[in-house]
Symmetry: C2
Subunit: 497 residues, 2 copies
């Protein structure tokens, strides 16, 4: 057991250092002054942390301890899973050379910085050389990892964000949705067009009132402000640690609706972290399962629970009170109509839950082709525009609202996109199973009581940490493998009945 205990100590330190990096990221997005060289200093600090973390994994003693511990036969299931997750981290870290990691990190930082100005000018040709450099290094990394993980290069990229995710899981699901979407979308748009339009509440909605309402509803969900914070950042995110949850949002004083839903979305992420198994804190098996499951927890809260008529029944009077307003626009039915409006658009982050998968499938097809050399960067803008036309019937007027809109590719995060839509489908399946296990969940939500829902989530998802691999986690929690049919039924029920 000695080797296993030593690994726990070693990985405990590694994860504490990653937590430190998390605080530095949060600070950079919320508190750090923007002038001078503060960003440069911060990236030096983060690079130093990244190096020492990498060194811990690359140390030959870590490798020896892993080999030795894998020969032990008296580990319990949590310890065995912990060891499996340690090996997974080790494989990702050691499959690539430090030089490649550094080169990719620097190329991504350069490209991302340039992208900010190039996007403003829709200048794809201006960013293409830097993007080509990033893509070249991503492909090198993918090739090296594909060997170590015994999977395709593209799968090796997805595996960083959602361990174990393979194309034979994604392809049939995305094909299914891709076939389903055009007719379904048309039917929803026809139905919406035939109905009276919702009344949009008129601003301004002062930031302080929005924040107060956000705090109130976060509390309803179970967020404890003695163990967490809500701050402002340009791009909302959920950070911090299970004992110190840090979520962020941004406020639009003309429209409170999307900011509020953003807060509830991030609260979903945060409460997943909060409920992870405390006995395995700062151990790989005690961490969240992967980006798809993480996204399932935020989307379950946002899309399944909080855009429901039940939640809006509870929230509508609180909204009126927070903004000191009244009138027909604050009726539950009207608010529900606003929160379930479907409208094809060019921008992924503004998309509703019906059209969102189209955005993801477009990116999935393109990045897979680029990694597999079935396409070159020169073809990217046309491929993007063709795909948008085919999937949503829209043509971007420029690259800023087209293939340059997302930071991911320019920042080196290839293989990330699928987790968004897999998360949405997993959310639908988890929520469906939760309601089956306890039909009172929605009734309780209508009374502002999230305890029944969180009991089920904590028991079946959160408290499991990374004990199970994702397909097994889904199967044990819901009785079946990931099934796009449940997501489709959710859409049909919400948008066509």
């Amino acid at each position: 057991m000695k080797s296993y205990q030593k690994l726990e100590k070693r990985f405990g330190r590694l994860l504490a250092l990653r937590e430190a990096a998390g605080v530095l990221h949060w600070d950079a997005s919320t508190m750090m002054p923007e002038g001078g060289s503060s960003a440069e200093a911060r990236s030096e600090q983060l690079a130093a942390l990244g190096t020492v973390c990498h060194d811990i994994l690359e140390d030959s003693e870590t490798s020896d301890l892993l080999d030795d511990a894998e020969g032990l036969n008296d580990l319990n299931i949590w310890q065995a899973a912990n060891l499996r997750e340690m090996r997974h981290m080790w494989v990702h870290a050691t499959a690539v050379t430090s030089d490649l990691v550094e080169a990719l990190s620097k190329a991504s930082m350069r490209c991302e910085t340039k992208w900010r100005s190039a996007r403003a000018e829709s200048d794809f040709n201006g960013i293409k050389p830097m993007l080509a450099e990033v893509l070249k290094l991503v492909k090198e990394s993918a090739a090296a990892k594909s060997e170590a993980l015994a999977c395709s290069p593209y799968e090796a990229l997805m595996d960083e964000y959602t361990p174990g995710l393979r194309q034979d899981i994604v392809d049939p699901i995305f094909s299914d949705i891709e076939a389903f979407l055009p007719d379904f979308l048309k039917a929803v748009l026809d139905k919406q067009a035939a109905a009276p339009q919702p009344i949009i509440p008129k601003g301004p909605f002062p930031e302080a009132q929005q924040r107060e309402l956000g705090h109130l509803l976060m509390g309803t969900l179970g967020f404890d402000f003695s163990q967490g914070r809500l701050d402002i950042s340009l791009h909302p995110f959920s950070g911090g640690t299970p004992d110190d949850l840090r979520i962020t949002t941004r406020y639009d004083e003309e429209d409170f609706t999307s900011g509020l839903m953003g807060i509830l979305h991030e609260t979903g992420h945060a409460l997943y972290e909060k409920n992870l198994p405390k006995d395995w804190r700062r151990q790989p098996v005690g961490e969240a399962r992967g980006m798809d499951v993480h996204e399932s927890q935020s989307l379950l809260i946002e899309m399944q629970a909080c855009r429901s008529k039940e939640f809006l029944t509870y929230a509508a009077p609180l909204m009126k009170q927070a903004f000191k307003r009244d009138g027909p626009e604050w009726q539950v039915d009207n608010l529900y109509q606003i929160y379930t409006t479907v409208e094809p658009g060019l921008i992924r982050v503004d998309a509703d839950e019906v059209t969102y998968p189209a955005h993801v499938i477009l990116r999935y097809n393109i990045e897979r082709a680029l990694i597999a050399d079935d396409m070159t960067l020169a073809d990217l803008p046309d491929a993007w525009n063709d795909g948008m036309e085919r999937l949503l019937g829209l043509t971007p007027p420029d690259h800023a609202t087209g293939c340059m809109q997302d930071i991911h590719w320019f920042d080196g995060a290839w293989g990330y996109f699928p987790s968004y839509s897999l998360g949405a489908m997993t959310a639908a399946q988890f929520f469906d199973a939760a309601l089956e296990a306890n039909p009172d969940i929605l009734l309780a939500i209508a009374q502002g009581n999230f305890t029944p829902l969180y009991s089920w989530l904590t028991e079946n998802i959160h408290s499991q940490g990374s004990l199970l691999e994702t397909p097994e986690l889904i199967k044990r929690a819901t009785g079946k493998e990931l099934d796009a049919g449940i997501f489709k039924r959710h859409l049909e029920t919400r948008y066509l009945t």
Copy 2:
């Protein structure tokens, strides 16, 4: 040169990691929620950072590189000084075993936590066993370092905070002040008693107005809010990095005067950091010179510059404006009288500049005796009370306002106190030299122009980083060794003429 370059890279990473720890400390004092286990998680993160920093110094390759680089004869003076500072950090880190470092860190954390409640109850006997454990480990550490540094154990402790500080520097200065103080203090108190009392401005002074005034005057001093922040914490401090200065304060709505001076004090610390040599950023030679010089920069700003009649001439109208007040209490002479009131008291952190050295000398004598085994902890309360009676004519009614008032000993920071008073004397000497070099400095301050003062400080102190050892820095900047006579003359001029 190769060994030297490798050391620069290694220490660059080390100092980046220490900066990361600094961000975590700042966050813990200003932003971190107080509930749950956030503090415990933070100390795990800081412990992990401490361990990897220690590992970098203890690594045998670091030792080999230092040995090799010390044989080079083509280093320039900055490189040679950098190497000297690297060796100094190395000696402190490697003189003690990791086990001792960890034991001391844990004992200090336990003792400090217990001290918070024990102090509230004035319970010296309750804290004594834990304090004894801390003292035992501090003595072990001091003994080990005294050998490596070829100095006395107590000097080895001082050396951590103010490198190179030895008793033959401190003793004559403190003896001089100790002999000077009683008669001087009596004369000042007599003079004050004979004069009309100052009129104290009446509160409340809303926090927002105090903050605005603080921001305004920080800006006057040269603080750039695009590269720094002012926040609230229980114990004010100056943190962050040269590119990202983070100072804190606390506000008392009944009395704005001490909070405002606290902000200016911390601004003095921050602007020292800001003006350190950019070419040596994240190298030991580019760091601040030591705690005594750091304190000289905050005290020069607070005591020498900002409690001057010239500064108050500039600030008085801004105070009136900030608080929307008027009346005789806002006259410069009245404000000057408030800001130069002398009153012997029990609490060091509330002391004026005349009585402050008495507090420090008391602690210096006691901690030196305890480290040298000339005294035991059982004698501490009596030694304290006797010293207070002798130095300031006061007897603490309890230990909370007596020997338990400061966190330092309970937190393991032995040998720190002298730097406060050495800083005050160094500040007087620097300011005196600056005025001699440029007699217009005070005139400019009266117009809210700190540029002449900061030109001198930047050139003679800040831009030097740790190029020179402290005695040499003082000598080059002022033409002579540290001279308590200048501090005494400052007190005589301000308080008796």
